[in-house]
């Protein structure tokens, strides 16, 4: 390549701004179009997000991880038979299939006894998130829970489950509260984000307004320690005040925001 040829790609000289945002800025252009490199980088990110949605939950691996923590697992399945049905029928992902419901009711020895907390792990929209972060989060959460003296139900793993599937599980286990660890809708740059939903006094028909959510638990997002800290606050307050959801959330949002009106585009 001795002869100097015009560059095929017009580079953007403001790449220095990338350190301020994860947005895909300063990509350059081929003509007016996306150059090959960022085009294929996007395709890869979308493929990973799609795979996260369609990857089956490795129930054995999650159960082994729980066993290593000293917890037995109950394996359950929602009424959505497969991923395609799960995606089209949100109603079915919120209830257990007949076999799971029967298995749960058969195993509960003393219906009057009850437990304080049920933990439910569901694949949701990203089994990848569960594989990466569910057991890992429990490694910090379980020791924190030990300080409360609460009784814990066996941990349930639900395939093809939505958030609300935690309600029938908790009811069957006689739990006063339920925490559902679930794979969140994958973003292009966050295919493995885990969410946790807390519901006090769960029942069939609990609404989203009755739940508190901790979102974006992943390596580049909320850390396990930070998630555990917030989660323990929510669980303790829910237990103490016997509520969860909007009314509880309003009072946790006390963090002072640092409000800046300036940026390099407006400051002199």
């Amino acid at each position: 390549m001795s002869r100097k040829t015009p560059a095929l790609v017009t580079e953007d000289p403001w790449g220095t701004l990338r350190r301020f945002t994860d947005a895909r800025i300063a990509l350059g252009r081929s003509g007016v179009s996306l150059p090959t490199h960022p085009h294929l980088a996007f395709q890869l990110a979308h493929a990973q997000a799609r795979d996260a949605v369609h990857l089956p939950l490795d129930v054995d691996a999650v159960a082994q991880g729980l066993a290593a923590l000293g917890y037995p697992a109950i394996r359950l399945h929602s009424a959505a038979r497969d991923r395609r049905e799960y995606l089209q029928r949100p109603d079915l992902g919120r209830v257990l299939d007949a076999a799971s419901a029967q298995a749960l009711s058969a195993r509960r020895p003393d219906p009057a006894a009850g437990v304080d907390l049920a933990i439910v792990i569901a694949d949701g929209l990203s089994a990848t998130a569960v594989h990466h972060h569910a057991v890992a989060l429990l490694h910090t959460l379980i020791p924190a829970l030990a300080d409360t003296g609460w009784s814990l139900a066996p941990i349930a793993i639900v395939e093809q489950g939505r958030v609300a599937v935690g309600d029938p599980v908790a009811v069957a286990l006689g739990a006063r509260m339920v925490a559902v660890l679930i794979g969140e809708r994958p973003g292009l740059s966050s295919p493995d984000s885990l969410g946790v939903y807390v519901t006090y006094a769960p029942r069939r028909g609990s609404t989203d307004a009755e739940r508190n959510c901790i979102s974006n638990i992943r390596t580049a997002g909320l850390s396990y320690d930070a998630a555990t800290h917030t989660l323990m606050y929510l669980l303790r307050e829910a237990m103490r005040r016997r509520i969860s959801g909007v009314r509880l959330k309003d009072e946790t949002a006390t963090a002072q925001r640092i409000v800046s009106r300036g940026s390099f585009l407006t400051d002199d």
């Binding site: 947005a23 990509l27 996007f42 973003g187 925001r257 009106r261």
Partner: protein, 466 residues
């Protein structure tokens, strides 16, 4: 009343206009979940044939959602303009399709007709139209709106610059704003979806956008897409509010789930008008809609999602908005399963809005759990450009890192403008040329940063210091 259609030896019966409309709707996931969809393809076409025979006048007497139960129905019926309706008052739904496609139905005739149409009439005719029909008629419609730029002119395509950031970080947002401006984006609005509803955080964003627009003399308007009550509070506290945003739906109950009603929208509209911030015009409301929102709120009254969507446009047109866009693929596959459903829905919404006199844009978008990809978006984008869509979203590299979905990029808008010969809003086009971003009406060939922005970049700490 009941409607019937006989196909061969089978007679299909539809108990109400509501049921007939639902079963005539091209297949989509949300109507299946709601139990409203036709059971078979033949039943669907039978419903479409029966619907084609229904006189348009019937929609004025058989309400899909009772007048007594729903303020949107009352808005539609009470606001109907019988004189404007007169040219098509004698037609059936099927005749109306032919009328719309006919050559005498031009831009002036369609504009004059709009106040005489109800959303249900428009939804009905859309259900028996193919995609090319939806494009051809929408292309004939002309709706022009103004605030600091002029939108909707023939041969123009505008963009909303959408510089979202997951923590509303001002510098992160400014980085995306600059990226967009240098790619010729932002003539419809510079509009942020804030991560926080906190009033002081929202006001900080409003002030930042206002300073950017003022400092660089950009002929556009700003919007922070927060709840209408937050806009009202910001106005009370003296924030520089250009456009008032709100998500709206097509039933009173669905709007209540959004925390709004018509009285509240009236109040916000009046408050923003009183600020008098528009220089070219006073269209200042920005509405977003999307099929499935009423069902999602358990507030669809047994009405199919496309008809519910079209009813939302009756809400929008009350306020002469600057911008309306359907966020077509955001809601997910439970409502629009795949690229095919998203593409058709986007073109239906664009057509129905335009026919009702609205300045329609479209958020050409999808989520990662929908059966859709960039190719589907390219199809919808190109078809919308052909149909005369007012504006699309513009975001760095199609990746919204705050809302976690994919919409159109700055590059996509440049593609569409180039392939269809479309230009930005005239005032913005002049600004782009003055700044040296455009040369000879096109994105410039060089990569030089305009002086004003080069000075801004020069203020940044060096990367090693940051």
């Amino acid at each position: 009343m009941a409607y019937t259609q006989t196909i061969g030896s089978t007679t299909y019966r539809f108990d109400s206009l509501r049921q007939l409309m639902a079963q005539a709707t091209p297949a989509r996931a949300g109507d299946v979940v709601a139990g409203l969809a036709a059971d078979t393809d033949e039943a669907r076409v039978a419903a479409q044939m029966a619907l084609a025979e229904v006189p348009l006048k019937r929609f004025l007497t058989e309400a899909l959602i009772p007048y007594e139960d729903d303020e949107i129905t009352r808005l539609i019926i009470d606001g109907h303009d019988a004189d404007a309706f007169a040219p098509v008052a004698h037609l059936t739904v099927g005749d109306f399709r032919d009328w719309l496609l006919s050559d005498p139905a031009g831009a002036a005739e369609l504009a004059a007709l709009a106040p005489g149409l109800t959303p249900e009439m428009v939804a009905a005719v859309s259900k028996i139209m193919r995609i090319q029909d939806l494009i051809l008629v929408a292309k004939k419609c002309r709706v022009v709106t103004r605030f600091r730029s002029t939108l909707g002119l023939d041969g123009r395509l505008a963009t909303r610059l959408q510089p979202n950031h997951p923590t509303d970080d001002p510098t992160g947002i400014a980085a995306s704003v600059l990226d967009g401006l240098l790619y010729g984006s932002g003539d419809a609005v510079i509009g942020i979806n804030p991560a926080s509803d906190n009033i002081s955080a929202v006001m900080a964003l409003m002030e930042m956008l206002d300073r950017i627009i003022e400092r660089y003399a950009i002929p556009t308007q700003s919007c922070v897409l927060t709840h209408v009550t937050t806009h009202l509070e910001a106005i009370r506290r003296g924030a520089p509010v250009d456009l008032v945003f709100q998500s709206i739906a097509g039933t009173e109950a669905a709007n209540r789930s959004f925390g709004i009603d018509l009285a509240l929208l009236d109040e916000a509209h009046a408050a923003a008008l009183a600020l008098g911030r528009g220089t070219l015009g006073d269209n200042l409301m920005y509405f977003e809609t999307g099929q499935g929102s009423a069902l999602s709120a358990n507030a669809n009254h047994g009405v199919d999602q496309q008809t519910c969507e079209t009813r939302a446009y009756a809400v929008a047109r009350r306020y002469r908005p600057l911008l309306v866009n359907t966020v077509v693929g955001f809601i997910g596959p439970e409502y629009l399963f795949d690229g095919r459903q998203i593409i058709r829905a986007g073109l239906e919404d664009h057509f129905c809005g335009k026919l009702l006199g609205l300045p329609m844009g479209c958020d050409v978008c999808y989520t990662n759990h929908a059966e859709a990809d960039q190719n589907d978006m390219d199809v919808l984008l190109t078809l919308l450009g052909t149909a005369g869509c007012h504006y699309i979203m513009g975001i760095p590299g199609s990746d919204d890192i705050m809302l976690n979905y994919q919409t159109t990029s700055f590059h996509d808008a440049l593609y569409l403008r180039r392939v269809l010969g479309l230009r930005p809003a005239p005032e913005f086009e002049t600004w782009l040329a003055r700044m040296g971003i455009f040369e000879a009406g096109q994105q410039g060939n060089g990569n030089a940063v305009p002086d004003a922005f080069r000075r801004a970049l020069a203020q940044l700490p060096r990367e090693t210091d940051a």
